[in-house]
Each structure stands twice: as structure tokens, then as C-alpha cells.
Amino acid sequence: MTAASDDASAGFRPRDLNRHPKAHTPNYQSSIARSPRHALIAVPPTLGDTTGPLFGHADVGPTDHDLLTNHAAAGQSAIGERIILHGRVLDEDACPVPNTLVEIWQANAGGRYRHRRDSYLAALDPGFGGCGRTLTDADGRYRFHTIRPGAYPWPNVSDEWRPAHVHFSVFGSGFVQRLITQCYFEGDPLVARCPIVATLPDADAVSGVTARLDMDESVAFDSLAWRFDLVLRGRGATPFDNRPEGD
């Protein structure tokens, strides 16, 4: 088949699937019934792959990036260790990805999500929803103010504990850059024990989803800062169209 259209000619680099978890990872039990059993089919890219929805400041409210206050009553704040979670969204060519939507969700300081199906013993915090969003600036920077989430137990092959983590959703400029991931916190001993972290292929991949303590951005007598940079697929020189079958 030929390239989809002239508009789609600015292709993206093929995704290196060896850097991502395999879809079927039985030690993460939920993947067993939720992974394909048929080979994927390669299709040529179209405009719908190389473009993506545009977001603007009208999409983001003034406190959407501030999880300390965006669910709390006026004058109140979420309970927990106050942190700044910030970084840049770049592509593989090290170019910043500006004006892209970054969304996060997380458990509260006790390790409980504000979700009807989370019945963990830890208390809900009336001042914490656990949902935030922001747009990157012209240099690809984003910044959230939140609390450090707690670890929590979950049922898997046996009972397990999730390390503290924040879920991330990022768009980029083309839909093929869409990324859902999580960031962990440097130095957390639960990271090495987690079956979901273990779906990653190697230590370098784990490093890619680890936020690092950033004292330079910490605010004295207020909040520690953690830095987490995200890298989306780049446009680069390798034409998307030349991706071999099954790559």
C-alpha cells in the first residue's frame, strides 16, 4: 500500500517495542485476558496518525495543575507530603513538545484512590481528588503541585504492594506519540519488588519512568520537588512507512 496522503508524509520514527512492556505479562495478572492473541496487522500511516488533537488554555482550569487545592474546600488543602512534580516533554530528537496536554492521576497520601472500587483501609482525604492536568509551555515544561502518593496493597498472583507512583497521560503533536505511563520516585525500595515495574525490559527502562529529587526546584519551608522528563516518539530521519512488518 502507498503512503496515505501527502499530509501524512512527515512520519514518525518506528516505536522500539523492546523498550516497552510486552502486552502479555502473566506475572501482572490483569494482562492475561487483556492482551491480544492474534498478530498485529501493519497498516500505513494516515493523517489521523501523524496529526493529533490540539489543546489550548481554555481546556485547562486555573487550579487543574494544583492537586493540593483542586478538590479541597475553599481555604483547605490536601493532606500529605507536599511536592512539586515537574519536568519537560521532549521527543526522541530532544525537541521540546509545546502546548501539549499532560494529565495525571494518583492515590492519596494514604495510598487510596478516590474511586468507587477502591476499598483499601486507608482513609479518603476529603481535600484530595487525585486528578490534574496542564499544558506544556513553549519549552515543553509542565509543573504540578500535589502530594506524594502512598504505597498500597493490591491482589495479583499473590498479594503485592505498589510503589508510590503517579499516572501520566501525554498527547504530543501526532496521535502515534500518545503515551500512558507512570512515574515512580527515586530511592523507593518497593520499585524493585513490583510486578508491574517488572513488565519493563531492563534497568534503563525503569530509569526512564523514575522521578528524581530536585532540590534546585524545591521551595524552602513549602515543598520538595521531583523531576520527571517524558520522551515521546520523534520525527527523525527514518520514514515511518519503512517500518518492517512486526517491528
Binding site: 491480544p36 489521523g48 478538590h71 472500587r117 500512558i180 526512564g208
Partner: protein
Amino acid sequence: MARSTTLAETPSQTAGPYVQIGLLPRFAGLKRHPHQLGNGLGNADEPGERIRIEGHLLDGNGAPVGDGLIEVWQAGAGTGDATIEGAAGSGTRGWGRLGSRARSAPGTRSTPRRGRATSTPATSSSSIRTDSPRRSGARVTFCSVEQDLKARYLARNAGLSASRNHHR
């Protein structure tokens, strides 16, 4: 394969069972959040044939996936970024989201079908996010064959179907 990139892509991790509180907060009951994104895929003023896509999100055992997220993105075929730019900030940017629930009617979106590019059919790219380590990519292709609608499935366990709806 030789790669001249200077940075490696951030690896993906599962969206987990609570993806809906992050990406569909009102659907998940977080009422203090003033709005959620992706509600409007098309509005009444937008020209075009209106179609409905509906289906069930099922796992490999055929069980309903009650914690899923479906995103739909329709590029403005033939006009590229200009169309997208024009739609940004309104309800008609061509992108929408909905969540799945295990015991309710399947989620639906009514949307104008996008124009055809000269060389290719108009497409909607859907990504289905569930409690799974990596996203499943599904593309529903609306073929340009007159009065015929075909769907191709990349993720065959997704349980998506495309059907024609003569009018809403």
C-alpha cells in the same frame, strides 16, 4: 536497527483500573472537577453525515471491561492542520473520549463523518485503554465505497464494531 535518536522514548506503563478518575473525572464521580475533556466529538452545527459507532469492550474471556477508556480522533481529512486549528477550543476538534462500565449500555458517540481525502478513506483512530500494560491500537476505517461501511480491526479482542446509523 541503527537509531540516530538522542533520547529513548519513555516506556509505557499500565493505565491501571482507575484510569477513569484521571481522564474522565466526572464520569468517575469526581464532581468537584469543573469539567472533563473529550465530551464533544461533534456538535449539531457541524456539517457532514452523522454516524454512530457503538460496541462492547470485552476482555479475552468475553467479560465486559468496566474500567476502560476509549479515545477517538478524527483528523480533518484533506485539509490537515487548518481544520484542526479551527476546531481547537470548541467541541468539534475531532477528538473525544468515553468510559466503559460493566453493567450499563455501551457508550456511544454521535459524530459527523469527516470528509474524504483524495487518496484515502477518512479514518478514526481509536485507542483503547484498559488495565493492560500496553495500549491496544484499533483503527476503524470508513471506506469511501458508496453506501458501504467497513471496519478493520487491529485489536481483535477489542469487541468494537462500526455500524451505520441512518440518522439520529
